[in-house]
């Protein structure tokens, strides 16, 4: 069934179609709002009508806001009537004539005007279950676009949406360039300084690979590069084990097919999934800054806790997606043999997911080692302590040595975990 937007059909379907239309309209409006923002940024930047500091600000006179909002709204409306707008393309619909071969320009313009009449009257025609007024009066409809084998479509760049997306892309480039302050001249002018650093880093100083470096102290102890490398790998290991152990039971609570469809099941599922999503959105290093305040700046435990929390959330999500993807057959078989819910999980779900759980856990260890190398920046401990210490001292040849060790370890972990994952899968 091809949806007839706003047309006849079950009321639920009609509302769904209308909300999709509203969404696509919003998309168009936002696109033009973004264009307006960029244009004004560029105007400000080049004509200094308002002062701009380097990262950019947008200050409009008080009457400016309504003008911008209305202007972008109108632009969106006319774009949607006169051609195939970006928003229409995004949800895969196009204007099609209900009667007649083609839609004349006059009809399109009329539709644009009628839109303003039709929207305030929306409650009326929605209640009466009719097509939107402006569509009905101009004898057009928004239909799902099916490619016509007779008439090949125009090249994307020649359509409205194609042009607009290209324009948006170019605008983003320009504005982004200015906002970020990309400056290639600096890159070239300061190349000699950078070259000096690179040169020193490429002549690494491995004197303190196994012997503790007397100038580097952590809580009154000196460490060698090797010591801290071991600590870093161990940090990642402990965090992965802890995180995996905790994510394992949680992942079943966050899986639709295990939790069932009772209200309690839904609630548990929602809470667990929400927990995974929120905690995953906070980067490990941000967690580390919180835990560094809690358990002490520069303690390894802070790093471990940060890695663990992020690992629980990330692994939990991956695990529960695996659990949701199991084939339902074996579950059915255990139910049929009189198994309880726990037995179904233990004997039908777990055997199916265990190999991929191992693969994800290995992968996570790999990621955790990477994270553990830099977590010291905010007081999470590990080899990063050394890295940032030497960097602050300007001792770039020691920085080079540390970076090389990090690269070797990370690379080896990547390789080994990749090979192991291949074997498991």
């Amino acid at each position: 069934m091809s949806p007839t937007p706003g047309g006849a059909g079950a009321p639920r379907d009609r509302l769904k179609v209308l909300s999709r239309r509203a969404f696509s309209f919003l998309l168009d409006w936002m696109a033009w709002g973004y264009v307006a923002y960029c244009v004004m940024y560029l105007l400000n930047y080049y004509w200094y009508t308002v002062h701009v500091d380097w990262w950019g600000t947008l200050t409009l006179p008080s009457w400016g806001w309504p003008v911008v909002i209305l202007a972008t709204l109108e632009l969106a409306v006319w774009c949607r009537s006169l051609g195939r707008s970006l928003g229409q393309r995004a949800i895969g619909v196009a204007l099609r004539p209900v009667a007649g071969e083609r839609i004349s320009v006059g009809r399109r313009v009329l539709r644009g005007f009628l839109w303003h009449l039709s929207v305030p009257l929306a409650p009326v025609w929605i209640a009466r279950g009719e097509e939107p007024l402006h569509d009905r009066l101009t004898q057009v409809g928004l239909r799902t676009e099916t490619p016509d084998p007779e008439r090949p479509g125009r090249r994307a760049i020649l359509t409205q949406w194609g042009f607009v997306s290209l324009f948006l892309g170019a605008l983003t480039m320009c504005v982004g360039w200015l906002i970020i302050g990309i400056n290639l001249q600096v890159l070239i002018r300061r190349a000699p300084q950078a070259g000096r650093i690179w040169g020193e880093m490429l002549r690494p100083d491995f004197r303190y690979f196994t012997a503790p470096d007397p100038v580097f102290h952590l809580r009154a102890l000196s460490y060698s590069i090797l010591d801290l490398t071991v600590v870093t790998v161990f940090m990642a290991l402990v965090a992965t084990v802890l995180g995996g152990v905790m994510a394992f039971p949680l992942s079943f609570l966050g899986a639709r097919n295990v939790m069932g469809f009772s209200p309690a099941g839904w609630a548990t599922y929602g809470v667990i999934r929400g927990f995974f999503n929120v905690f995953r959105s906070i980067e490990t290093i941000i967690w580390a800054s919180i835990f560094a305040i809690w358990v002490g700046y520069g303690t390894v435990l802070a790093g471990i806790l940060a890695l663990t929390i992020h690992t629980i959330a990330a692994l939990g999500k991956l695990y529960s997606e695996q659990v949701e993807g199991v084939s339902p057959g074996p579950l059915e078989a255990v139910w049929a043999a009189g198994g309880s819910r726990i037995q179904v999980v233990r004997h039908a779900v777990i055997p199916q997911v265990l190999p991929s759980f191992w693969a994800f856990t290995l992968y996570r260890w790999d990621i955790n080692v990477r994270m553990a190398t830099v977590i010291a920046l905010v007081g999470g401990g590990g080899i990063g302590d050394m890295l940032f210490y030497y960097k602050n001292q300007g001792d770039w040849s020691k920085v080079g040595a540390v970076v090389m060790v990090i690269v070797a370890v990370v690379w080896a972990m990547d390789y080994i975990s990749g090979r192991l994952r291949e074997r498991i899968a």
Partner: protein, 417 residues
């Protein structure tokens, strides 16, 4: 045809022809590689165990960090001989990992035979001399051979009754014990249970965020988003062409293979360095005055390395069918590229790019922490300024941003698939 009657001449040995020689050498190299892989696993495992045990011992008992505690040659000899002994007398974990088993060619695997195997493996295996023959010398003379283990209808021996299983278990336990010993201190554990109050200001931001900084924070967030978008776009522009040079199946021959190897090696090194580390290097280069610039450069380099790998791996997995079909019509290399390869990779490439964009948003906030501009820089300034409520507010904003982008990119990718 030599003209001599059948059986009068012996056939030319196989290895006198080029191809035959190559095959013979390859066979021997194969056998030797199997043996040495096994040996490396065993010796490496024993070495790791020894290192960990001494490490834990030194840490807990002597209170120092030390790794071997014996002269290095004792360590080396012990590890090597231990591994060989294990392989000769029992079923080592290297053998288990590669699915091999030491079985008698005929008769029983007596202790004498196993000891003989041990001695011969030392003499001829380690030195590599024995591998000139297939099967190698130590196998021939001891009458024992490494065979693929046969699946049996008997219940498999439980892991705790095999030496390999016990070894792995001990290794895991020792690893965890030493890892916990090294990483945990009593002081930090004590703080974990008593000092939770230190972070109360962060959580206060959840209920009472500091709204006065919202506008400034939003501005920084715009910078962060632009950093991620531009870094991704610029990275795509570089990595799409590079990915063709980094695909194993497209780069053949004496020119192609070295390019492939160098490119993939460089990319995997660049990928191993976290964006934060790249950012500190670039910060020195472009100075801290232009921190977002340094940040975007860091993201750019790391994205290139990551995208080239992802793209190239996709290229390596393309279906050969269309390529053959188009080539068979007599089309040139460019047409093959345009009509057989590109259609297969467009969607996956876009999908990888969206994925990387999502990661770059996260990384852009992280890169800010070292002074790479954007919202991350604001966050770290608040943290170091002990303005925890403001820091908490910024964190909430970051969570919303990251979560929204994550959702968006996942939705778009689901549509592409």
């Amino acid at each position: 045809m030599t003209g001599y009657p059948e059986g009068y001449t012996s056939p030319r040995p196989e290895w006198t022809t080029g191809r035959g020689l190559y095959n013979a050498l390859a066979r021997r190299a194969d056998v030797a590689a199997k043996y040495f892989a096994m040996f490396l696993l065993d010796a490496g495992g024993l070495a790791a165990l020894w290192l960990l045990v001494t490490y834990a011992y030194a840490w807990y008992v002597l209170g120092i960090t030390a790794y071997i505690l014996v002269p290095w040659w004792v360590f080396a000899l012990g590890v090597v001989e231990g591994a060989i002994l294990w392989e000769s007398l029992g079923r080592s974990w290297g053998q288990k990992a590669l699915g091999r088993e030491l079985t008698p060619v005929s008769g029983e695997a007596t202790a004498i035979r196993r000891l003989l195997y041990f001695v011969l493996w030392n003499l001829f295996g380690l030195t590599g001399i024995g591998f000139v023959l297939v099967p190698p010398l130590h196998e021939r003379w001891s009458g024992l051979g490494l065979r693929r283990e046969r699946p049996s209808s008997q219940a498999p021996v439980p892991w705790y009754r095999t030496s390999a299983g016990l070894f792995v278990a001990v290794l895991l336990v020792v690893t965890l014990v030493s890892a916990l010993g090294v990483t945990l201190t009593w002081e930090s554990l004590r703080r974990l249970f008593t000092q939770a109050g230190q972070t109360v200001e962060f959580w206060r931001a959840l209920v009472r965020p500091d709204t006065t900084i919202l506008l400034d924070a939003m501005r920084d967030m715009i910078v962060t988003v632009f950093m991620a978008v531009l870094a991704t776009l610029f990275a795509v522009a570089v990595s799409v062409p590079l990915s063709f040079l980094a695909a194993r199946n497209l780069m053949r021959g004496p020119v192609g293979r070295p390019i492939y190897t160098i490119l993939r090696g460089a990319m995997s090194i660049a990928r191993s360095i976290e964006p934060i580390v790249w950012a500190i290097i670039f910060l020195v280069w472009v100075t801290a005055l232009r921190s977002p610039f340094a940040g975007i450069l860091a993201l750019w380099v790391h994205s290139i390395a990551d995208l080239v790998k992802l793209y190239a791996e996709r290229l390596e997995a393309i279906d050969q069918g269309p390529i053959e079909a188009i080539t068979a019509t007599g089309a040139g290399r460019l047409s093959v590229l345009r009509y057989a390869i590109v259609p297969q990779i467009v969607n996956p490439y876009i999908s990888f790019t969206l994925y990387r964009w999502d990661i770059n948003i996260r990384m852009a906030t992280v890169v800010g922490l070292v002074g790479g501009g954007g919202i991350g820089q604001r966050l770290i300034n608040y943290i170091w300024g002990v303005q925890y409520r403001q820091a908490g507010t910024v964190m909430i904003l970051i969570v919303i941003l990251v979560w929204a982008i994550d959702y968006l990119s996942a939705r778009l990718r689901a549509k592409l698939a």
